[in-house]
């Protein structure tokens, strides 16, 4: 487990080698560290986590150079070795943002689940020129499903541009992607979705652009731009289903554009996950 390499020595030793199904490692100041498996947290060491442990993890992840990841930290995360580390703590006041001190870390462990969502593929492929949204609550497995859809569509002949802002889709640590995203995928990492989508559009002639988590207005504008150019979109969003999605003004606007005609809703957790297709109508 790559995430284990970032942990302090005693925590690393406390983890069972080859531990399966771990989705996250959680470190909270003053609490025992836990593993998140199948939606449940269980402690893996009795030693309570200290502020110094969090700093050690962050120092290792950033190569003792937190200033090089200030932009990411302002967004509440840090990418390292193909992992995403969610951070929480006391933020600096005013416009400066950034963290004054850290209280919790969530080391998210990206997984490659080959073969998931096989039954969705024909519908998603048919809609490749349009827009498909993958929806679930946080931690529902949107990114894992998106990754698998990209790989299958790409291997199936679709030229895909992947905007991987947070290094989660490709889990890329260097020039080569960590996960197999298919033979016809061009992966752009470390750039905002809006900027990356335009860059791919201009330079790589994608048939479909895939991106994780549409959350900001700029993302929405990029989606509109892409659709206007006749490029298909495969994206994820935080929402249990399209009806709840409409509760958020930005998502309501997104749905009203009519760009997305298909939604894949993920229900349940862990091995009990189910995928449900829903047609979206404006």
């Amino acid at each position: 487990m790559r995430a284990a390499a970032l942990l302090p020595g005693d925590y690393r030793q406390a983890l069972c080698p080859g531990e399966l199904g771990v989705e996250e490692i959680r470190l909270r100041c003053g609490r025992a560290p836990t593993l998140l498996c199948d939606g449940r947290e269980r402690p893996f060491s009795e030693r309570l986590c200290r502020q110094e442990d969090l700093l050690l993890v962050l120092e290792k992840a950033s190569g003792a150079s937190l200033h090089t990841v200030e932009d990411e930290l302002r967004g509440g995360y840090l990418s390292a070795k193909g992992l995403r580390i969610g951070v929480c703590g006391r933020m600096l006041p005013g416009e400066r943002r950034g963290f004054q001190s850290f209280s919790s870390l969530a080391l998210r462990i990206p997984r490659e689940c080959r073969g998931i969502g096989k039954e969705l593929l024909p519908a998603v492929r048919e809609n490749a020129a349009g827009g498909t949204l993958i929806l679930s609550a946080p931690g529902g497995g949107k990114t894992t499903l998106l990754r698998e859809m990209i790989r299958r569509l790409s291997d199936g002949g679709v030229r895909i541009g992947v905007v991987d802002e947070r290094f989660e889709l490709s889990a890329a640590g260097d020039a080569s992607p960590g996960f197999d995203l298919g033979c016809r995928s061009d992966v752009l990492t470390g750039v905002s979705k809006a900027e990356g989508a335009m860059l791919l559009l201009r330079s790589l002639n994608p048939q479909l652009v895939a991106m994780d988590e549409i959350t900001r207005r700029e993302d929405l504008e990029a989606v509109i731009e892409l659709a206007g150019c006749g490029v298909g979109i495969l994206a994820t969003a935080h929402a249990a289903d399209p009806d709840r999605m409409r509760l958020r003004p930005l998502y309501r606007e997104l749905l009203d554009t009519g760009i997305f005609q298909l939604a894949v809703c993920i229900e349940g957790q862990g091995s009990a996950r189910r995928y449900r297709l829903r047609e979206l109508c404006t």
């Binding site: 390499a5 970032l6 942990l7 302090p8 020595g9 110094e52 700093l55 050690l56 993890v57 120092e59 290792k60 950033s62 190569g63 003792a64 150079s65 937190l66 200033h67 090089t68 200030e70 600096l92 400066r96 950034g98």
Partner: protein, 168 residues
């Protein structure tokens, strides 16, 4: 025999003065090298937003104690995660920057606690503060060295002569 012993005492006193002067010269060279290295570190951090391990490797090429310090730090970088950057910084200091006085060591140690851990502007402010202190001390040491050297040589010679007179 008494004459030989007295001469040895005189020689010892003079040697004490020479050792002091050599220590001061080493301190000046160390301060000067470290100030130059920190100035380069500041410029690299400001311009390129580079990572500290890369900068430590770059500064390992500096001459003298500063180069040796950054070289030692660079070699310890793989231990990150087991020990904090601050600990590695302090450990590297112990071996290589022993020519500095207490307040200078304290300032450099404080700098190690800030580097890589806080926002860039705070790191740069801390670097600038530390460099200013080192520069002030360097200037002071350079200015005072001739006078202090004369004083120490005079004192050690006088002390040696005094012992010589007593013994003879």
């Amino acid at each position: 025999m008494r004459t030989a012993a007295a001469l040895l005492v005189l020689l010892g006193s003079l040697l004490g003065g020479a050792v002091w002067q050599r220590g001061q010269r080493r301190r000046i060279v160390c301060l000067s090298g470290l100030s130059r290295a920190l100035s380069r570190l500041e410029a690299e951090l400001t311009g390129k937003n580079a990572s500290l391990p890369a900068l430590a490797a770059l500064l390992a090429g500096e001459e003298g104690a500063a180069g040796a310090f950054f070289s030692a730090l660079s070699e310890m970088i793989p231990e990150l995660g087991e020990r904090s950057f601050r600990q590695l910084w302090c450990e590297a200091m112990e071996g290589e920057l022993c020519a500095l006085n207490d307040s200078e060591i304290c300032a450099v140690r404080e700098l190690g606690a800030v580097l890589g851990r806080y926002p860039l502007d705070m790191q740069l402010a801390s670097l600038s503060r530390c460099r200013k202190l080192l520069d002030d001390h360097l200037e002071q040491a350079r200015r005072k060295l001739p006078d202090d050297a004369r004083l120490v040589w005079g004192l050690s010679a006088a002390c040696g002569l005094f012992l010589l007179i007593i013994l003879l």
